[in-house]
């Protein structure tokens, strides 16, 4: 490199390195270091795995962790099942202006704060809410029905909140599917089901993977939806992290929880990429 370009290179590299090291890499290393220490006295710490042991010995922690993971996987699957036909419709069936309008209509709700979306579901689902009143008005219920504060409400909220992140990658990959290929599938004697299985889904796999990764991550790390829509027994793992940090002020245990959450989400993301033979660069970039 010439001297001029070398200077330019260093000037461009500096912000990137500062950002990644000071805000991403070192903080996570520090969080890990905090998670493997134990307070033995005032300002006295020892390296130990005590926090991780606590996690595995306390049934509430372990159960909440697993519950959060399973429900996030479930939310991802439901989101995919709901979003796929809609994305296919937008990408392949709707044409011209309608296509553009439908796509924008999908985007708009998600420029609105998650808090507002969750608030909307609270108004709909709670005991004095719209659905409960509708049911009573229609004579299907004779007293107010509480639909909030349970796992189903959390699921509705999670699926709603993540929908965009599934629809956009699906529409993008499905749009690149050539109609002629689908026609060829039918010409060769395929029916709707076999064309879907042999042609459409394999073609859409990159979109399915990147959508699922993002939706899973967002569900796993969600705090607002489970807190507002869930009940007393539907604890989410992020709520445990929050309470250790802010309420109990036990940063060591909180950091261990945070690290476990990070580990779980990384493992699942890595696993999905491996399973479908893709890289993070192709999927996210």
């Amino acid at each position: 490199m010439r001297a001029g370009t070398k200077l330019g290179f260093i000037l461009l590299l500096t912000p990137l390195l500062l950002w990644l090291s000071l805000l991403i890499i070192i903080p996570h290393i520090d969080m890990f270091l905090v998670s493997i220490r134990e307070r033995v006295d005032v300002r006295q710490y020892e390296t130990s795995l005590a926090n991780y042991l606590t996690f595995f010995q306390e049934p509430l922690y372990l159960r909440t962790f697993l519950r959060t993971a399973v429900m996030s996987v479930l939310a991802t699957l439901i989101t995919l099942l709901i979003a796929f036909p809609v994305s296919y419709y937008i990408a392949k069936i709707a044409k011209g202006r309608l296509q553009a309008v439908l796509f924008v209509l999908c985007l708009i709700p998600f420029y609105v704060s998650e808090l507002v979306r969750t608030f909307g579901w609270m108004i709909l689902l709670r005991e004095t809410g719209v659905f409960s009143n509708l049911l009573q008005w229609a004579g299907l219920a004779d007293r107010p029905v509480e639909m909030l504060y349970n796992d189903a409400a959390i699921m509705i909220g999670l699926v709603y909140t993540s929908m965009l992140f599934m629809v956009v990658p699906l529409v993008t990959t499905l749009e690149s599917l050539d109609d002629a290929v689908v026609e060829a599938g039918y010409d060769l004697g395929g029916n709707g089901y076999s064309v879907l299985r042999e042609i459409v889904i394999p073609h859409a796999t990159p979109g399915i993977v990147s959508g699922s990764i993002v939706v899973f991550m967002l569900s796993l790390g969600n705090y607002l939806t489970p807190t507002m829509l869930g009940g007393k027994d539907s604890l989410w793992f992020t709520e445990l992290i929050y309470s250790q940090f802010i309420v109990r002020f036990n940063w060591e245990l909180g950091a261990a929880f945070g690290f476990l959450l990070l580990l779980l989400s990384s493992l699942i993301v890595w696993g999905m990429l491996r399973l479908t033979g893709q890289t993070l660069k192709e999927t996210m970039g």
């Binding site: 290179f9 000037l11 609105v112 704060s113 808090l115 507002v116 992290i241 990070l262």
Partner: protein
């Protein structure tokens, strides 16, 4: 299932109905939030007590409207300030990153690119606590060495800005990189052949070409920052941005005031979002 392949009428109708239902589902929560902002009642729920503007303009208890509610107005100001800082910072770093990855070949380029994508797959709450832990370590260290307490490293707006920037910078980098890849470098060379210096060529040719992407990234970053909740929750100090302030109120019980704030948010972000979408479509 494409238009050129005939399908039974019933299948087509059922499919259309499904898509219609989906859009109703998308619109439902937002519509009820909007509608109940005008309910003349203490609670955002049925029965409908009549139409009122009080939740926007009212200035007497019990119906103090948004425009007379000091804490909410202050929270909106805080959010706007944070969002402005985050978006300007993100676009600046994003622009620098885009040039770095587009123009230079160097060792560890692949590794750095992957690290750059990483913030997208780290849960927001984990980003928040890791920055909280690290900044406290630094602040405590400084206190022990120099007996000097750095307020900026304690939970507060500075950390909120850094925390949001830590992942929004990735989005800005991706948006600007995508446009830079489409740039024809011979245009820059032509400018340099005509006597322009390298920097002048970039400033007069490349930057104007990138402008739509930079404005797009700026608006997206602004909106993402404005509505961010998870990362902010862990780093917030005494000045609460709007999402946190609304969350605290919602926990205590809701009044149509919150609907009115939400409606304003919806209108504001839709206008911004639509502007960007139309703007990018034209280019």
């Amino acid at each position: 299932m494409i238009p050129t392949i005939p399908q039974p009428r019933a299948v087509r109708l059922a499919y259309g109905a499904y898509v219609l239902l989906f859009f109703l589902y998308l619109a439902l929560p937002l519509s009820v939030v909007a509608v109940f902002a005008f309910n003349d009642s203490q609670f955002p729920s049925l029965p409908w007590e009549g139409f009122t503007w009080e939740w926007f303009f009212g200035d007497a208890r019990p119906k103090i409207g948004v425009f007379h509610e000091r804490p909410i107005l202050r929270a909106i100001g805080t959010s706007a300030f944070v969002a402005l800082c985050v978006s300007v910072l993100s676009v600046a770093v994003g622009l620098s990153n885009a040039f770095l990855f587009n123009r230079y070949e160097f060792r560890a380029k692949g590794l750095l690119y992957m690290l750059m994508l990483l913030p997208l797959v780290i849960p927001g709450i984990v980003l928040g606590i890791s920055i909280l832990v690290f900044s406290s370590s630094v602040a405590n260290g400084l206190w022990e060495v120099a007996q000097y307490d750095v307020q900026a490293l304690r939970p507060g707006l500075m950390l909120v800005i850094l925390g949001q920037f830590s992942f929004i910078a990735t989005i800005a980098t991706l948006v600007i990189s995508a446009r830079l890849q489409k740039f024809d470098r011979s245009l820059e060379e032509a400018a340099m052949n005509l006597g322009a210096g390298r920097l002048t060529a970039v400033r007069t040719i490349t930057i104007p070409f990138l402008m739509p992407a930079m404005i797009g990234a700026l608006v997206v970053a602004f909106l993402m920052s404005f509505e961010n909740f998870n990362t902010t929750l862990m780093l917030v100090g005494s000045d609460a941005p709007l999402t946190i302030a609304m969350f605290d109120r919602l926990k205590e019980g809701s009044t149509p005031l919150l609907n009115a704030v939400s409606l304003l948010l919806m209108v504001g972000s839709s206008i911004l979002a639509l502007t960007v979408i139309l703007f990018q479509r034209r280019n």
